[in-house]
Symmetry: C2
Subunit: 342 residues, 2 copies
């Protein structure tokens, strides 16, 4: 494996010159540059990433850590939405030849240890956080360390310039309006897990939407899910077992909505007629479910790219201009899972 010194010798120049050629410095005479390039070609030389990182203090890698969450012992699978996020990030990352490194670890002490590891060992240049929890210790730590990071979502205050979020509350208000306009008065709310930070924001949107439409909230029609299809199913059975069941169910993600539809159908009821269902995310399958799911669409692929750009600017300490704004408007996509109540 040739080193920069081999190239220098072959091209009869110094290592400094080779380095300048590699990094596109304008200080190199054209003829010399050609000679160096030919040497690089001839020896099939590629700079070693680790050596470069060591002296530049940059790794050209950003990180993302999934908090594995277990409920009753079984792992909650990653939401397909995250895959779209990854797609968006990596698509944007490739143009600046940056990689996205992934870890998965259960929330808790070991999680913090991993974050500390990564930050202090300079294994990555920055982090993308998502699915923040209430009083999330990760944010405090990263802030304290002044380590570059961006958040998909908000946290505690809307201040700071390192987050991008979708106005989920606004989306829910729109969904409630849609349901009430169809004639629904008993609307159930399938909540995200209470540990999640967004749970509070989403709930506010629901409360606001119901208030705006003058519909009372029945706390018997609120169920805490965990984003899995299973919990959507369980919550829906719980709702439909009530003496006074709902005619519509708002679900905080599409997976729970799919579970909800399944539960409704298992009781011989028709989704969109007997019970309406609204989801959140608009995963690609939502359009192909039976019936197609009314849901709140977030431009997740675009958000992934925007988060990446934001993070890179943060890392490079460049001024940040969030042209598209940092609080994006989601869009209610009406399909056949919602209809007038019977």
């Amino acid at each position: 494996m040739p080193t920069i010194r081999d190239v220098a010798r072959y091209a009869q120049v110094s290592v400094g010159t080779v380095s300048n050629v590699l990094n596109g410095s304008t200080l190199v005479k054209d003829e010399t540059r050609q000679r160096v390039l030919m040497a690089i070609e001839a020896l099939n030389y590629h700079p070693t990433a680790a050596a470069r990182s060591l002296s530049t203090q940059r790794t050209n890698t950003i990180g993302m850590i999934r908090s594995e969450i277990r409920l009753q012992g079984n792992l909650i699978e990653t939401d397909p939405m995250v895959l779209d996020l990854i797609d968006g990030i990596t698509s944007a990352a490739i143009s600046s030849s940056t990689g996205l490194t992934f870890w998965a670890i259960p929330a808790g002490e070991r999680e913090m240890a991993l974050y500390k590891q990564l930050v202090t060992s300079r294994q990555i240049d920055g982090l993308i956080l998502f699915a923040l929890r209430e009083k999330d210790p990760r944010v405090a730590y990263l802030r304290e360390q002044e380590f570059p990071f961006v958040i998909f979502g908000r946290f505690e205050s809307d201040e700071g310039d390192n987050w991008i979020d979708v106005d989920g509350a606004g989306g829910i208000e729109a969904a409630v309006r849609h349901l009430v306009e169809l004639g629904h008065h008993r609307i159930a709310y399938l909540s995200p897990p209470h540990e999640q930070y967004l749970t509070g924001l989403r709930w506010q949107g629901f409360v606001q939407g119901m208030r705006d439409m003058n519909v009372p909230i029945d706390l018997a029609l609120v169920y805490e899910g965990d984003f899995s299809e299973k919990s959507g199913q369980l919550g829906t059975h719980y709702f439909l077992d009530q003496p006074n069941p709902p005619t519509a169910i708002f679900c905080n993600n599409d997976r729970m909505a799919f579970g909800a539809m399944r539960a409704i159908q298992a009781r011989g009821l028709v989704v969109g007629q007997d019970v309406s269902v609204v989801g959140f995310d608009d995963v690609s399958l939502a359009r192909y479910s039976n019936p197609p799911l009314t849901t709140i669409s977030q431009p997740i692929h675009h958000i992934g790219g925007a988060l990446f750009d934001l993070l890179i600017n943060l890392i490079n300490q460049q001024p940040i201009d969030l042209l598209g704004g940092k609080l994006l408007k989601p869009e209610l996509i009406v399909r056949q899972s919602t209809g007038m109540p019977r």
Copy 2:
């Protein structure tokens, strides 16, 4: 940021000793070890990953590259199955504090350039390949470079010890048997894209299954999809527009099966009665679709972990024992999307 020399000075030992403590060498006297550990604690020292990589030639990172594929200009989204694979890999990786780095790049010249980059710059210790294509240039290159890599799937010959696959052909044979036993004779086949290497293997399974059951294959009932819901939908409309339409459709992944079910339902037909549908993968949603999807289940989370272990052994040049075997038996999960033909 303290370095190993700072720690050495603080603990009044040499850098070599600190390094020995860090790497768990038994050559250090217990008392000295304690002093060093206290210094590490006091200075809050963490070794720099790049420096370590430079001298050990190991990065503790493995890579995975998604080939972005565009058809008619639009990006094919990543299959949710891949997310489960990532989950499986990262779950296994964390215990050996290894990260998984991700890139996405369109297949073609730039793709090969990226592979060469990564291999020669020693940015990663090994690669996990998936979704191999016919005559895939990546395999030849990596073999030639003797770079450690493992494949989810097989390639050209079943030789080599660096792959794990599911016996897709066997799964399809079982699916065909299931359909024929229900009474189906006109079975359509929704194929993967022809560029994919597994397409040939899967087709052989279909042919074998049909032959075993003495059912003729009608080439008018074969359609090449691209793994997207959309293509499942298109293929199904194509099938149902035939003068002599099928009573069952085998789809090579669940996403296409969801599209197929949607198309069937759009025509006012009932899935599992008028037309049966079988998928492949058993993604988590398959159990919650309407009707629940009969599909071929692969232990994808487990495969992710096994691929990781295999790769680590390859990297460490340790003997490999694939206890579970490298060709795993998939399982046909019968749900309500298949039934007797009318």
